[in-house]
Structure formats: C-alpha cells, structure tokens
Point group: C2
Chain length 225, copies 2
C-alpha cells in the first residue's frame, strides 16, 4: 500500500514538519495532546516536554499554536477531500456522489496504517471541538487571504457542485452545504455533551448512522423542487 502524504499550504509553517523526525513528532504528539487537554490548555511548553524537546525548537516549525491547529485541520480536510474524490470516482449521478461524499465525511474514522504518523480518530475529535476556533477570530480575513481555509472550502465547493447539478434551480447550494457541514461537526459533540440539543444518542456507531440519515434526508428534501 502506498504511503500518502499531502502537500499543505506553505504559509502554515516556518519549516515543513513532514521533512524531519522532530517535525513529525510535533504533529503526531500535538494531535494526542490537543485531543486530551483541549486547545486552550495546549501550549508549546507542554508539547515540548512530551516529546523531550524544547519550546524554541517547536517555534522553529510553527509560528504559534493557532497555526499548528490550522495545519492539523487543513491536513484533515485535505485527507477528506482526497477520500471523497476516491469514493465518488465511478459514480455518475450527483445524488449518488452526494451520498458517497456524505458517508466519507460522517463515518467514524479508523486509523489508516497507510497514513504516516497521524491518528485520524483523534483528529476527527479535534475537528469537532476546535475547527470553528480556527476561523472565528479577528484575523480571519488575513488567514483567509493566505489560503488557510482552502481545504475546507474545497470540500464544501465539491459538495455544492453536486447540489447545483442535482437541482440547478435551487437557490442556496452553498448555504445548504455549509449548514450541513456545521451540523456534522457539531451533532456528535452534542450527543456526547449537550444531549438535549440532538436526537442522536451517545452510542457512537448508531449516532454516526443516524447523523447520516438526518443529513441525507434534509439535503434531498431541501433541494426537491
């Protein structure tokens, strides 16, 4: 099996973390650490201690912890986009393509041994809990100009294209897709922590399935003319 890696936006880092062992350690252990203590509590000092390195060394790779978070999340959406492309390649109708793409986005991730030094399950939890924080900032316009949100926007664009093909008259394809994506990123968190906001239950296998059914149903009903 081929070992894949993604080339991410160079503005994300000062030195490419994929180019050295220390860099890979930073990425790999930052996922574990952010997943376990949350982004607010996460510091380069704590990470440095975990990997037996120093704060200064980590700063040589990432300008600050916000950029590191964006790096991880861009990796995630790049990976999702790649998997969607793969999943829809033999499907012709926009409806089938939408369904296949939704499945990729919503399904519970398994660790793919073909992918180096990334714990995809932990990363999915990070996306659920921290993704919004990457753009809900005062520097959003600068970050956006630097292309930091391209991978996420690419996934959304791909889905919106299928909506447009399924029903060219539907007036809100982008709004519908970004709403769906928000829902996907939040509902499983609600199931765990704020259950009164969702009908999904805590059981993870079932809730992923129920979430898929919810999204599929409301997308197709929304665009039906």
């Amino acid at each position: 099996m081929a070992i894949i890696s993604f080339r991410l936006n160079e503005k994300l880092f000062l030195r490419d973390p994929q180019s050295s062992e220390l860099g890979q350690n930073i990425v790999c252990h930052s996922i574990a650490l952010i997943d376990s203590i949350g982004f607010e509590q996460f510091t380069f000092k704590k990470l440095a201690d975990k990997i037996d390195s120093t704060e200064a060394s980590i700063y040589r790779y990432f300008e600050n912890k916000h950029r590191l978070l964006v790096y991880l999340i861009d990796w995630y959406w790049t990976w999702i986009d790649y998997r969607i492309e793969f999943a829809i390649q033999n499907l012709r109708s926009p409806e089938e393509r939408l369904q296949a793409a939704l499945k990729v986005i919503i399904e519970e991730k398994k660790n793919d041994p073909g992918i180096a030094f990334v714990d995809e399950q932990a990363l999915q939890r990070i996306v659920m809990a921290e993704f919004d924080k990457t753009y809900l900032t005062k520097q959003v316009d600068i970050d956006n100009k630097e292309g930091l949100f391209i991978p996420y926007k690419a996934v959304c664009k791909r889905l919106a294209e299928q909506i447009k093909m399924a029903n060219p008259a539907y007036p809100h394809p982008h709004t519908l897709i970004s709403t769906t994506m928000l829902s996907i990123n939040h509902q499983l968190f609600y199931a765990q922590h704020l259950p009164s906001l969702t009908d999904l239950n805590k059981d993870s296998a079932k809730s992923h399935q129920a979430l898929y059914e919810f999204c599929e149903s409301f997308i197709f009903k929304a665009i039906k003319s």
Copy 2:
C-alpha cells in the same frame, strides 16, 4: 415603557453585575471591547483600563473572562427567548409560531432603549463569533451541570416543541433545530468573511432576509411527510 432586566443563573457571577454601577459598566464595556478586539485578545486588564477601574475589582464580579462571556451570551438567549414568547403569544398553529420565532432570532437587532446598558447589535455579533467557544471546551460537562447553557437550550427546546406539534412523526426535531441555530449563528459571519461558504451576500439587510427564507424553507421541507 418598562425597563426590563433578566435574572440570570447565579453561578455565572460572584457578585451580580446588575446590582451596581461598576457591574453595569463591566457588562456594557465588555460587550464593546469583545466586539472590537475579539474574545482571545480581551483581558480584564484592558477592560479595567477602559472603565477606569482595576483588574481586582472586575474579578470581584466574574471568576474569569470565560464566565463573563457566558454571562453575556446567556443574557442574549434569555432576551431572545423572552421576545419569542412575546412574538408568538397570539399565534395558534405551530407553523406560524415557528415562523415568528425564526424571525425574532434571525432579524437584525436594533438597540432597544427599554433595555438598560446593553448594545444588542454588538451582542448579536459576539454571539455569532464567540458563542461556540462557550461550549467547545473541556469543561463543557461541568458548565452544563451548573446550568450555564440553559437559556440557549430553552430557545432550542421551544422551537423543537413546535416541530413536534407540526409533525409528530418527524424523527429528528432537536437535531433539525440545533442545525438551524448553528446555521443562523454562522451564515452571516460567512457572508462577511468566508463568502464562498454561503449564498448570502454582504449587504446586511438582504442577507438577513435571505437567511430567513433559507431556514424557513429547509425546516418546512424537512418535516413535510
């Protein structure tokens, strides 16, 4: 016109900010300051300087800046819930009630002179940009147990009840409502900062209207049997 004020959860503060001039100053100027520099950059020190007071004095009212943010946002949702109750009082059908409630939530806020020391427009922007940060934390379960999210959950519950009445067979009333609320809180931000994620345009008057139409349409299509 009656001057209204809301009694909020006592866990939110150490001393009730509504009980003194300093407290009111803290609330009023924290809204302006968070709106202008964002929650990450916001500190009690900066707020103290603005109101010619001291850090120590502010800490007598709020345990930390997170609690202050939750206080502001709880105030907002309490106010919205109150206005929804008012707006739907003479409406009988769940459909009409849903529509009226949606309008209250989505419409561009105007400053209500009947409400003391709160800039509702700024607060709505804060809700858009910072609300998710109140619950996307590692302490979410503790905060939830202390009742910090009750006002938001109350709004969601009220809407979900109407969904259930409109179509008792619909299987995802809470998921549908919390998805709608997410969309409302994010789409206008997208229109300003990440326009490729939405079909709303930057013009605020039009975008509020278009957002209403989008939400109404997808809710009613979703629950149609």
